[in-house]
Amino acid sequence: MTGPQAAALQIARRALAQRAGPHTGAGAIAVAARRAYDDLIRVSAPLIGEVGLEALTGRALHLAQRSYPWLIPTPEPEQSQEAFAHFLTCLEKQEPAVAAEAAEAVFALVSGLFVTFIGDSLTAGILKKAWPDAFADASTGEK
């Protein structure tokens, strides 16, 4: 795993943890993932459009299937909004640890795709605005 991938995973982990709170079940992780995704839509949609984010998410879910074969694609992959809802349904059926790992991986893949297309700087700007709590934790951690 490269440095940027590890960093993206860590940011996703913090964002999900903040949104899950004290709850640790797979259902709570799915709810946290939904909230994190909504925050991402709110910030990134003005910049790249909701359709743009949904397309990247669809691609990230496809890539995640290599590590998590239980992420069965939806019948219509272009319906990425539904694809994410389907992903959440899949998450709820997993063991909490597996669900958490998969959710982190998907968000890390999404942010990796952001970097691929629009670069580090704009991606960092989006993530910091969408998940400020993840970065606040990071800066505290660094101290």
Partner: protein
């Protein structure tokens, strides 16, 4: 004090654009940037947006279905004007794709106004507005039509003191029937044409209310720094008035030494300042060397010069004669500016822009174009077709600035006709120096003559010259021969018999 409203003109941040707009972009104007796909519309809009946006008056860039925003952001980052640190600060992107797909024009207008009210932008861009116009065609009955939408948009954005750009793909045939063309205060039309292997981009300010843009098509280039426009230089009646050089003006009737004493004498005391000189001759006759002498002589008199090279490079001048090495040194020291050009897609205005920029930078008074044939080849095909007209504009503008210019022209030695330029441009120049090869007594000799110096007496002699360690050395006349230029010289000295020189093959 005046009752008239003063329109502030904004600097667009696009080199050359302010000039063709007539001094900048009118503040609060409502503009359309139109053209074919790939013409550079989005690049132009983004470059102006980054230049005009400020933290107090940010820019709002509405992206509508067209180029996917993620790709637009990806590609636009490659330009140096795209400042990542300003994105979401003084430059804000708002994607309206869903609003266009889902909503009516009424709703779309409300959304735009809502964003404008929340941001109070100084600059608003809608890219692509063509998509909005297409959505108007699908609008349910009772919804706004395109004309009312455009009018209300223009009123709202102007009221909010925003300078607006609508970006759209349009064909020139649509200009008469589309309401947006009527409502817009400014209309910038971008086009690109491919002719053989060259591609030329052109921009036209079709209208700009409240000011006088420079008419006609202006070439522009897109580089890593964005768009640069090369305003079309128009020759006005004042251009041939007494010289007003970028540096110190030459005194009227002042003569400049060409760097070869005997040739100065042949010219009647040097070249009159502000004259254009055509130096014509066959390959290897010493044109580039004489041109280098002309510039080096200028430096000796504290007059920087410029050489626009189309065939050679500065190191090549070290090969052209014994003083060449020194010439290269003059270039390295910045006393002579060297302009080297991209071949095949050059426009005359781009060349002129570079030359004028170098003239101002170096305060140059002398210019060499080496050579006209190379210059013509470097131009895009479309500009080669009106080379004479282009050259006329260039010579008139530069000599009007007080620049004394020398243009070399390669001519094949022809012993059946006497021409001075393959371009039929000899009449444009104020003076002509001709170099030829002649064969005399079994030797190939170089000869030189001054053909014309406008408004001045000059030598009519045909003089031999050599290229020596001291440079160009003018030698004797050939008084004892006649018919040198025919290739069949005859000796007039022989008594009782006329010695016929061998005719070249």
């Amino acid at each position: 004090m005046t009752d008239r409203v003063a329109i502030r003109r904004l600097s667009t941040g696009v080199p050359g654009l302010n000039e063709i707009l007539g001094g900048g972009l009118p503040e609060f104007s409502f503009n359309l940037i139109a053209g074919v796909p790939g013409a550079g519309k989005t690049t132009l809009a983004q470059q102006m947006m980054f230049a005009l946006a400020s933290p107090d008056r940010p820019a709002l860039y509405f992206t509508v279905v067209g180029e996917p925003p993620i790709k637009m952001l990806r590609y636009q980052q490659q330009f140096s004007y795209f400042d990542l640190a300003r994105v979401n600060e003084s430059v804000r992107y708002v994607n309206l794709s869903q609003d266009v797909v889902n909503g009516s024009l009424e709703n779309l207008l409300e959304r735009i106004i809502r964003e404008v009210e929340a941001t109070s932008p100084g600059v608003v861009v809608v890219d692509s507005f063509r998509t909005v116009a297409q959505a108007a065609g699908r609008a349910p009955s009772g919804d706004l039509d395109l004309q009312h939408f455009v009018q209300r948009l223009a009123v709202q954005l102007t009221s909010w003191q925003a300078t607006t750009f609508l970006v759209g793909e349009y064909q020139s045939s649509e200009a008469g029937e589309n309401p947006v063309f009527t409502v817009a205060d400014g209309l910038l039309w971008l086009s690109q044409s491919v002719d053989r292997n060259s591609m030329v981009r052109k921009m036209q300010v079709m209208k700009m209310r409240g000011q006088a843009p420079i008419p006609g098509l202006h070439t522009f280039r897109i580089t890593g720094d964005g768009i640069q426009v090369f305003p079309r230089v128009i020759v006005g009646p004042e251009e041939k008035s007494p010289p007003t050089a970028a540096g110190t003006p030459h005194k009227l009737r002042e003569r400049l030494s060409i760097g070869v004493k005997e040739l100065d004498a042949m010219l009647g005391g040097g070249i009159p300042a502000g004259y254009s000189v055509l130096l014509a001759g066959p390959s290897g006759s010493g044109k580039s060397m004489l041109a280098a002498e002309f510039l080096a002589e200028g430096v000796r008199h504290g007059e920087p010069g410029i050489v626009a090279m189309f065939e050679k490079r500065p190191p090549d001048y070290s090969l052209i004669g014994p003083k060449g090495r020194r010439f290269e040194q003059l270039v390295q020291e910045g006393k002579v500016g060297a302009i080297q050009t991209r071949p095949l897609d050059l426009s005359i205005d781009e060349m002129l822009y570079e030359i004028i920029e170098a003239i101002h930078r170096l305060k140059a008074r002398r210019l060499v174009i080496d050579s006209l044939s190379g210059f013509e080849l470097a131009l895009a095909q479309t500009f080669r077709e009106d080379f004479r007209e282009s050259l006329y504009r260039m010579v008139t503008v530069l000599t009007g600035m007080g620049i004394t210019m020398m243009m070399t022209a390669e001519l094949e030695d022809s012993y059946s006709d006497l021409r001075f330029s393959p371009h039929g441009t000899a009449f444009l120049t104020d003076a002509i120096i001709m170099q030829r090869y002649v064969e005399l007594q079994g030797q190939l000799r170089r000869v030189m003559a001054v053909v014309k110096v406008r408004g001045s007496a000059h030598s009519k002699d045909l003089r031999a010259f050599d290229i020596t360690d001291e440079g160009i050395v003018i030698g004797e006349t050939f008084g004892e021969y006649e018919g040198l230029l025919t290739g069949s010289p005859t000796s007039t000295k022989s008594i009782g018999r006329r010695v016929k020189g061998p005719a070249p093959s």
